[in-house]
C-alpha cells in the first residue's frame, strides 16, 4: 500500500441535472488507504460525487481517474469500486450467502473459492450464523453488516459508503462506527464515507472534506477542520461556535487590539490583519472559561462579562447561554469538575468570560 499515491482523482468535474448545476469544476484527490469523509448540508452534492465515482452517473465535464487510469467512460460493473447503499439494497430474493456471493459469481470464480471467500467475509462482519436467512429476516444493523460484507468481498480499490449508519439507532451507530473504522484499518481499502453527522465525520476520518453547494470549502484532518476552520461556513457547520465580529484597531507586540462587543481586548495572534480590516473572532463553546463574579465585584478591566441567561444540563457538560451587555449571546460549554462541586450558575448571575490566548481563530472578512 503506497501512501500518498492518489487512488482516485476527480479533475474539473462538472455535473448538472437539467438546469441545476450540482458540481462545478470540482477537483478531488484521495490517497490509497485513506478514510475520507464528505460532510455537508443536505443537497450539497455528496451523493452525486459517490454516484459519479461508482459510475451510476456520468459527469458533464471532467475526468475520473482510478489508480491512474481513466475510468470516466467505464460502466459501473467494470469499475473496481463498490458501494454500501444507504438503503443497503440487499437483494430480497436471495439469502445472505447468495447476496454476498453475487459479486463473486459475476467474476466467474469457482464455487469452492466463492464459498470460502463469502464465509470469510461473513465471519469478518460477524454474520456467519445468518448465512441462510433472507434480508427481510434481519435487523437494520445486521443488514448493514451484510451490505458491507457484500461490497468488501469484491476487494474493491475504493469502498463508497453513503450515510450507511443513518438508519441505525444511536447506540448501534456508535458501535458500527468503531467497527467500520477497525475494518478499514484491517483491510487497508480506501473508504469514502458520506455523512450528515459532523461528530461521526470527526471521529472516524483521516480526512474530512466539508462541502457547500457542490464546492469544497475545506479539506483537512478532523483536528484542522475543527480547530482551524478555513471560513465561517466550515466553522459554523462543524460543531458549535461563537462568532464575534470586530475591526482591527491597531497592532500590538503579540497581536492586535480590537473592541469585542464594546469590550476592549487584545488578541494574541500570529495573524495580523491590516489595521482597520474587519475580522471574525471564533471561539468554540468548550474553549470559553466562565467565572462567577461576586455581587459587588467589579469586572476586571479588559475582560468580557455578561449574564447567564440559560443553562442546559448535557450529562457530561453544562451548557450556558451568556448575554453580553450588547445583547450578543455566547454559548459556553464546560465539563463538570469533581473538585468544583457547586458548579451550577444561577440564572441572572453575572459572569466573566475569558479564554486561553491563542485558542481563538481569527478570520479576515473580505
Amino acid at each position: 500500500m503506497k501512501q500518498n499515491s492518489p487512488v482516485i482523482e476527480l479533475t474539473n468535474i462538472t455535473k448538472s441535472f437539467g438546469e441545476n448545476t450540482i458540481l462545478k469544476n470540482l477537483n478531488l484527490s484521495i490517497s490509497d488507504g485513506e478514510f475520507v469523509t464528505l460532510l455537508g448540508p443536505s443537497g450539497c452534492g455528496k451523493t452525486t460525487i459517490l454516484r459519479l465515482i461508482a459510475g451510476f452517473e456520468q459527469p458533464d465535464e471532467g475526468r475520473i481517474l482510478l489508480a491512474g487510469s481513466d475510468i470516466t467512460d467505464q460502466p459501473s460493473n467494470k469499475r473496481h469500486v463498490n458501494t454500501v447503499f444507504q438503503s443497503y439494497a440487499l437483494f430480497p430474493h436471495m439469502t445472505v450467502f447468495e447476496n454476498v456471493a453475487f459479486g463473486l459469481n459475476m467474476d466467474k470464480m469457482s464455487k469452492s473459492e466463492i464459498k470460502a471467500q463469502v464465509n470469510d467475509a461473513l465471519r469478518m462482519v460477524k454474520m456467519s450464523d445468518y448465512a441462510d436467512r433472507k434480508p427481510s429476516q434481519l435487523s437494520g444493523g445486521q443488514q448493514q453488516r451484510v451490505a458491507i460484507a457484500r461490497a468488501v468481498v469484491k476487494k474493491p480499490r475504493i469502498l463508497l459508503l453513503d450515510e450507511p449508519l443513518s438508519a441505525l439507532d444511536f447506540k448501534l451507530r456508535k458501535q458500527m462506527q468503531v467497527e467500520l473504522k477497525q475494518l478499514q484499518r484491517r483491510l487497508g481499502i480506501t473508504f469514502i464515507f458520506v455523512t450528515h453527522d459532523q461528530e461521526e465525520a470527526l471521529s472516524m476520518s483521516d480526512r474530512v472534506i466539508v462541502m457547500e453547494e457542490g464546492v469544497i470549502q475545506q479539506s483537512g484532518t478532523p483536528k484542522q477542520v475543527y480547530e482551524q476552520p478555513a471560513n465561517l461556513f466550515v466553522a459554523r457547520f462543524v460543531g458549535e461556535i461563537n462568532v464575534l465580529d470586530t475591526v482591527v484597531e491597531k497592532h500590538t507586540d503579540n497581536g492586535f487590539a480590537c473592541k469585542i462587543e464594546g469590550f476592549s481586548c487584545e488578541i494574541h495572534s500570529k495573524k495580523r490583519p491590516a489595521e482597520g480590516s474587519k475580522v471574525s473572532i471564533l471561539l468554540r463553546p468548550e474553549d470559553l472559561r466562565v467565572e462567577e463574579l461576586a455581587k459587588a465585584e467589579k469586572p476586571e478591566a479588559g475582560s468580557i462579562f455578561g449574564r447567564v441567561e440559560e443553562t442546559t444540563y448535557k450529562g457530561a457538560t453544562l451548557e450556558s447561554i451568556i448575554v453580553l451587555p450588547s445583547g450578543k449571546k455566547l454559548l459556553a460549554s464546560e465539563f463538570f469538575d469533581e473538585e468544583y462541586e457547586e458548579f451550577d450558575y444561577k440564572l441572572g448571575q453575572d459572569v466573566a468570560i475569558s479564554w486561553v490566548d491563542g485558542w481563538e481563530v481569527v478570520l479576515v472578512n473580505e
Binding site: N77, S87, F91, G103
Partner: protein, 287 residues
C-alpha cells in the same frame, strides 16, 4: 357510523345476492346437469350417469384439450415476450409519453372484443390492410393466407389478451426499486446478468399474474377461433359452445365445462401458492 354499517350491509348483500344468482346457482346447475343423460326434446332426463366424463377422456376430446393448452401457452408466451419490454419501458417513462401509451392500452377496453376481433380480421384478410401494405412495399409478391389459419387464431388471442399481460407486469416493474439494478451493476453484473438474476426474480409476481390472466381466458374466447380460424380449430371453448348451441348435448357440455373449471381452479391455486412464495422471498429488506 350506523349509517355506514347499514350501507356496507346493503352493498355486501347486493353483491352476495348477485354472486348467488348469477354465479353460484348456474355453476351448481351445470355441475348437476353434467351427471344427467341427454334427451332429444327436453335437453336432459333425470337419470344419473358418469358417461359424460368418460367421454371427455376419449382421444378425440383429449386432442381438443391438448390443442387448447398449446394455443393458450403460445399466446401467453408471445404476450409475455411482447409485453415485458413494453411494460418495462412504460414503467421507466415519465410525463406525457407515458400517459399516451397508457391510453393506447386502455382504449381497446372501451370496445367490445367481438368487434375488435372483426377489426383485426379486416386487417388480416387476403385483400386486407396488411397484405395490401406488404404487396405495395414489395416485401411479398403473393398475398399471405393468414386468416382462417392457426396463426390467425394466435394473433387474435395475443391481440385480445396483451393488455392483461402488460398491466400486471407494469405494476410490478413500477414497484421495482432502481437501487437493486444499480447494486447489481456495482457488484459487476452486466445488463443481461442483471436482468436475469435481479429484475426477473423481483418482478416475478407480475410475470405470474400476467401469464395467468392471459392463459385462463384464452380457453373461453371461443369466438376468436370461431371467427378467425374459420371454425376449423376446435378448442375447449368452442367445444362447450357447440355442445350447448349446436349439438344440444347439455350434459356433455356441462361435463367439459366442469373439467375446465377444475383445471382453472388448479392453475389459480398454483398461482396463489407461487405468489405467496415469491412474496415471502420478495419482502423488501431494510428501508
Amino acid at each position: 357510523m350506523n349509517e355506514r354499517s347499514l350501507f356496507k350491509t346493503i352493498v355486501i348483500s347486493i353483491i352476495s345476492l348477485w354472486f348467488l344468482i348469477f354465479v353460484f346457482v348456474p355453476n351448481i346447475l351445470v355441475f348437476a346437469v353434467s351427471f344427467l343423460e341427454r334427451h332429444e326434446n327436453n335437453f336432459v332426463t333425470f337419470s344419473f350417469t358418469l358417461e359424460n366424463y368418460q367421454r371427455i377422456f376419449t382421444s378425440v376430446y383429449f386432442t381438443v384439450f391438448a390443442e387448447s393448452f398449446r394455443l393458450a401457452f403460445i399466446s401467453m408466451l408471445i404476450c409475455l415476450l411482447v409485453g415485458y419490454p413494453f411494460a418495462y419501458r412504460l414503467a421507466r417513462l415519465k410525463g406525457r409519453v407515458k400517459h399516451i401509451l397508457f391510453m393506447l392500452i386502455i382504449i381497446p377496453f372501451w370496445t367490445s372484443s367481438l368487434i375488435r376481433t372483426y377489426a383485426i380480421m379486416i386487417v388480416l384478410k387476403t385483400n386486407g390492410l396488411l397484405n395490401k401494405t406488404l404487396l405495395a412495399t414489395g416485401i411479398i409478391s403473393e398475398p399471405l393466407e393468414l386468416l382462417y389459419t392457426g396463426t390467425a387464431v394466435t394473433i387474435g388471442m395475443v391481440y385480445s389478451l396483451l393488455p392483461f399481460m402488460i398491466l400486471p407486469l407494469y405494476a410490478s416493474i413500477e414497484k421495482l426499486d432502481k437501487v437493486y439494478i444499480e447494486a447489481a451493476g456495482d457488484l459487476g453484473a452486466n445488463k443481461i446478468q442483471t436482468f436475469i438474476k435481479v429484475i426477473i426474480p423481483l418482478t416475478m409476481p407480475g410475470i405470474i399474474a400476467g401469464c395467468i390472466l392471459v392463459f385462463l381466458p384464452s380457453f373461453c374466447l371461443f369466438y376468436i377461433p370461431d371467427l378467425m380460424g374459420g371454425a376449423k380449430e376446435l378448442l375447449i371453448g368452442n367445444l362447450i359452445k357447440n355442445q350447448f348451441l349446436s349439438a344440444r348435448d347439455w350434459p356433455f357440455g356441462s361435463a367439459v365445462s366442469v373439467v375446465l373449471s377444475c383445471i382453472m381452479a388448479v392453475l389459480l391455486l398454483v398461482y396463489y401458492k407461487s405468489t405467496k412464495l415469491v412474496q415471502k422471498s420478495g419482502e423488501r429488506g431494510g428501508i
